[in-house]
């Protein structure tokens, strides 16, 4: 190609439209379908309130919409979304400390299908669940985060490590420490009763 042709081609070359709105809508629809439940569980594990968890998930996808140009640069979408949801949930929890607690744990225990809980789980009352969760809240922030995220089957240890910006071995030790400390708190609570 001669220089003139190259020059003419340069004049008439226009940047192709990378992502049309339909593309973005399709991407977000796919993300909602794939990750909304995981994000709901992440948000619910922090807020323990169904309405707030739903609001956080919506807020998470609004953030995705806001940063749609970065979507192609994101390596692990699940990690990115969970991190957004986790941070939003922590913010919400921090703000709601001034308000009275509105936990839906009792509702959750009632609404869970019986097949998803073992027989002995059903025996444990919702108050006991609430007690354990209250003790989880007493754990240090890093251990609590690792423990709560490890409860979600969708997330591997590696993904949790990415979310927490640390190594897998560190996550394992955090989970171990959290469980040990929680077990100690539960034993202490039982002995005091």
């Amino acid at each position: 190609m001669s220089s003139l042709e190259a020059q003419v081609a340069g004049w008439f070359y226009t940047q192709p439209v990378l992502k049309t709105q339909e593309d973005v809508s399709e991407i977000i629809t796919a993300l909602v379908a794939e990750y909304s439940t995981t994000l709901y569980r992440v948000a619910y594990s922090v807020t323990r309130n169904s309405a707030e968890a739903e609001d956080i998930v919506q807020e998470t996808f609004l953030r995705v919409l806001k940063h749609q140009n970065k979507l192609s640069d994101i390596r692990d979408t699940r990690v990115w979304l969970v991190r957004i949801a986790w941070n939003l949930a922590l913010d919400r929890k921090r703000r709601s400390k001034t308000r009275p607690e509105t936990e839906d744990i009792a509702d959750l225990v009632r609404t869970l299908p019986s097949s998803e809980l073992r027989a002995d789980d059903e025996v444990i009352s919702s108050q006991e669940h609430a007690r354990v969760l209250a003790l989880i809240d007493q754990l240090p922030a890093k251990e609590r985060q690792a423990l709560l995220l490890s409860a979600l089957e969708e997330l591997s240890t590696g993904e949790i490590a990415h979310i927490c910006s640390t190594t897998e071995s560190s996550i394992r030790s955090r989970i171990f420490r959290a469980r040990r400390e929680l077990a100690g708190l539960l034993t202490k609570e039982r002995s005091s009763r």
Binding site: S45, V57, L65, L117, L148, L152, E153, L186
Partner: protein, 160 residues
């Protein structure tokens, strides 16, 4: 620390059971629809949709728009060039007619100023110069002439 032999296992089970609540938490009904509704309600989404549609329309019709812009530019160039050219062609005034204002007389009695003669530059010369002398074409005698062509003898001009 634990008095009951199974208390450690029991604690682990209680922790697992409590954590399982989160693992099996199900979002409420029509959860995804509400997310989509919220996203579509977002003004940024609507604005971007309009901007994207407009951008896509411009991109699809880019050749048409480029041709139209080129045509308009050509028209503008022609009009401007024409106007510039007509301004440069200033015809010499053959006679400026100046009426006498305030004299009550019309154009017929106005002063007529003759146009100024055009000054000829020193180095000016005519476009072509006549080489022939005496205003007549001459054919030299030794000029090769084809056979059969009769060439009249040049006559000397009569002296008065």
């Amino acid at each position: 620390m634990s008095k009951h032999p199974n208390s450690a296992n029991n604690s682990e089970e209680r922790i697992d059971t409590a954590l399982r609540l989160f693992a099996h938490a199900q979002p409420p009904a029509n959860f995804e629809q509400r997310i989509h509704a919220r996203l579509y309600r977002e003004p940024a989404y609507a604005d971007k949709a309009f901007a994207s549609k407009f951008g896509r329309f411009l991109y699809a019709q880019r050749i048409v728009f480029a041709s139209a812009a080129a045509a308009v530019a050509c028209c503008c160039a022609i009009v401007i060039g024409s106007v510039q050219h007509s301004r440069q062609r200033t015809f010499p005034a053959t006679g400026v007619h100046v009426s006498a204002p305030g004299s009550g007389l019309g154009a017929a009695s106005g002063a007529r100023i003759a146009p100024q003669p055009v000054a000829v530059p020193e180095d000016a010369h005519s476009r072509s110069e006549r080489k022939a002398t005496g205003g007549r074409a001459t054919v030299p005698r030794d000029t090769h002439k084809p056979k059969g062509v009769a060439v009249p003898e040049s006559t000397q001009p009569q002296k008065p």
